[in-house]
Symmetry: C2
Subunit: 504 residues, 2 copies
């Protein structure tokens, strides 16, 4: 039975400061703005608030009453009228919800446990045994509920999930996302060759396609318009799949026009294995391409070791990359050259890759994307970009080749929101605050070290991980959030206008 | 006027599970133990608790009453009698307090703000202006109070601080550490050459030494036995110091037998600058050595790019290294080859290096030490170890040269506790739970995802960042803490038997 539909929304006015990254290298800060969201969760209007006399909370209330009578009102804490702009409001802002383009919900229980493994032994040691156990619906319910709640608490409003091969528990994941209100792509994981353990191996390519269709049918029944939850075709990765299975899934993608997700070029041993399994193919990417799996709707996780030819192929097909920096470092996969991918004009989003990655937070993924890019600047030799690729991703303050590799705070947060949205076909729908987009947003609040008036204790309570001192620019505040913040800073989360997480 | 002495301690019994790392590659877990701490904060006895019948909380109470009548009792949550070992106790343990071997208290306000800079432009852009402003005692009090409170909340029981050149505010930092009860080394920063900005430049080498003596005298007056706070001689780094100043500080170290802290080989531009400033010296390390600054009490931050000759010199002098992985990655300094240093027999501890590092947490430093070592395994070529160096740091599960570079969870936590203690001359005094050591400890608590009984909601509240599922080994729990935990997991912190932080 499908879960009950969410209650009809009330049209709501959101006020405060709205911060987002309209382009990769820009931070837009709209102070003292109001955004109106209609009954469908869509942004219908965006206006600057102009309080004629010096602002105060009371004046704002009057302004709302006068101009938006009959609307619900949620204030994100404006910077006006509270201690001369130094009050609580100066550390609070609305930010677009995060998009996690690659997360294995089925591995959530294992976060933080990976030892010294690399990809292939990590799969056998930690991952396959856990995934096998998710044939139990009881266990699946516990793990998936916790995963969805946790990612919502981190501000993830959209997640592209891998479940397992088990249809019933995969369908349960879709139900849980609908119930908790998270926008999600749900992948039933396909893996049919002899390299897979018995309990996780699909009986045949046909059965794997059949089971994928079963999940698609389930999602079509519980969310017919895919307003919130969408099926995504999910071959685990080339080393797990027969050629027949890959072909079958490619055909299914063509037939259904659904998105595809898989892994690509994560680890050098994996790449060598693909070469042994498909010796007649030019490259790992080429295997997917010849099976019809590189489409403009394909999201490829990792892409750490792509050759120039593979990058050209990805660009040509319009497929996108999910960059998973925490995972890549944790299991020693390598350093993904994100600047190079962006220079090539390939779309990039961020993934937590739980549990290769130890954190379910896209804020942490953004932080580590910055860190990995700085490591690349420190250690790696320069490689030439593909010719004719877009130059709009060049930040103005780049001075040389090494510095260019570094991703700025704005770029990392752009990858975490609009970048990921574009990968998942949600461009123009989520990731920003333009009229016509959906209200997928989080209210961020950094606590003041001293109440903002300079004479407080300067101490630490249970408030949160970030202190403001009254001297920070907006850029500084956002940087402090990205590097020092955590889920304590995410006070409220909305998806399509619905409140889906609140931190008391 | 010196701050009032702390109240006399009551002899106290601590019960629960005690986890520590007696050697770099071992995790010792003492379940159902009791540790007695005397009025001086020293561990006087350590016994296993043997409850004859099946344990229960009530039995433990009886046992304590019978065997330790008249003692204060602090229970860390034993694993007995609560839901058949699955209760709250299974996610709680005592752990040695963390040792931060390198932190600039004066830069605390700037955590998270560093843009795309590297060392030398980072100093000029962010750091020197901030440090200049700490001539104000009002500002210094705010920043230092917040820094000490924050690091205590992260479980840092010992910190080796850089203040600034200003004597009064440096002395204030010592007072604040005494008042809040943190074990600390306090360094008045010396920097006299023309490369320093006007407001931070010592008037002369003599004045710098004189001012250092003034801070030593102050600390001698407020903590005559250096029971908690110790002065540490602190030349900023070679590029900031004249040869006369380095000689003067070397002589002062010899005269006073005090420890020394400084920076070494952090960044390739810095190394090139040292070569220009001291062209007749063999190396950066050699400059310190010829000025009498490489002693067994010297802690050298970073050491990312040491030559084999420099490593040999450090080993010969018995000087130690503060590894600051967050900082090294943040400002693109490079990847410190910690395994190589350990193989060479050089002592290594961890530093947060606030604010080159964006986090004041040694737990985060331990996590990033693991991450940096995994990046090294993925990208860097192999270098031979020095001959004849210790092999006891070889973890048993190392299989090849690449894997050997990886630091295990136990190794990272050993660096964070005993490793740092040894660097600072506190070996055998803090960092573990042996009789005769001081009670510098933290109570760690991970929250259960579902109350531990498998039928809970599996959801997320405000409890904490880590979930346990009832299937974890002790090694798994500690790994989850290191990779997913934060200050929310540190419930109580003690230094020398005194409660210095409590999270409600």
């Amino acid at each position: 039975m499908p879960p009950p539909s969410p209650p009809k929304l009330k049209r709501t006015l959101y006020t405060g400061t709205f911060v987002s990254t309209p382009t990769p290298s820009s931070l837009e800060v709209l102070e003292d703005y109001a955004i109106a969201v209609d009954e469908e969760g869509v942004l219908s209007e965006r206006v600057q608030i102009d309080l004629s006399e010096e602002g105060s909370e009371r004046d704002l209330e009057k302004w709302v009453k006068k101009n938006w009578d009959g609307w619900e009102w949620v204030d994100g804490g404006m910077g006006v009228g509270k201690g001369k702009g130094k009050g609580k409001g100066r550390g609070r802002w609305w930010f677009p919800g995060f998009v996690d383009t690659h997360i294995h919900a089925s591995q959530y229980l294992n976060v933080g446990i990976f030892g010294k493994t690399t990809l292939l032994d990590w799969l056998n040691t930690y991952t396959f045994p856990l995934e096998s156990s998710l044939s139990s619906l009881t266990k699946a319910r516990r793990v998936y509920s916790a995963c969805v709640s946790r990612t919502l608490s981190h501000g993830t409003t959209t997640a592209s999930y891998y479940a397992t091969k088990h249809v019933a528990s995969t369908n349960l994941l879709a139900d849980i996302c609908l119930e908790k209100g998270q926008r999600a792509f749900i992948g039933r994981v396909c893996m049919d060759n002899d390299l897979n353990p018995d309990h996780l191996r699909d009986e045949s390519p046909e059965q794997a396609v059949q089971d994928t269709k079963a999940t698609i049918a389930h999602i079509d029944s519980v969310d017919p318009s895919h307003a919130l939850v969408t099926p995504i075709i999910t071959p685990r990765f080339v080393p797990s799949c027969s050629s027949s299975l890959l072909s079958g899934l490619g055909a299914l993608a063509k037939e259904t026009d659904l998105p595809i997700q898989t892994h690509l070029s994560e680890n050098t041993n994996e790449i060598a294995l693909v070469r042994r399994l498909f010796p007649s193919h030019d490259s790992y990417s080429h295997v997917y391409d010849t099976h019809g799996l590189l489409t403009p709707k394909t999201v490829l996780a990792h892409c750490v070791h792509l050759s120039p030819e593979e990058r050209t192929l990805l660009k040509k097909r319009g497929s996108s990359v999910s960059h998973c920096p925490v995972s890549n470092t944790s299991i020693s996969s390598g350093l993904c050259p994100v600047r190079q991918l962006l220079d090539d004009g390939i779309d990039v989003g961020l993934g937590t890759d739980v549990s290769g990655g130890y954190s379910a937070s896209i804020l942490v993924a953004a932080r580590e994307a910055a860190m990995v890019s700085r490591t690349l600047a420190a250690v790696a030799p320069e490689a030439p970009p593909l010719s004719g690729a877009g130059s709009e991703v060049l930040p103005e303050h780049s001075t040389n080749a090494r510095d260019r590799k570094k991703l700025s705070v704005e770029e990392c947060l752009h990858l975490a929101t609009r970048g990921g949205a574009k990968c998942l076909g949600l461009e123009g729908k989520v990731g920003g605050f333009e009229v016509g987009m959906q209200w997928d947003a989080q209210l961020v609040a950094l606590d003041d070290a001293d109440g903002g008036d300079g004479d407080g204790p300067g101490g630490v309570g249970d408030e949160g991980p970030v202190e403001l001192w009254g001297e920070e620019t907006w850029g500084d505040k956002v940087a402090k959030w990205m590097f020092c913040g955590d889920d304590r800073c995410t006070k409220r989360v909305f998806v399509r206008g619905r409140l889906v997480h609140e931190r008391r």
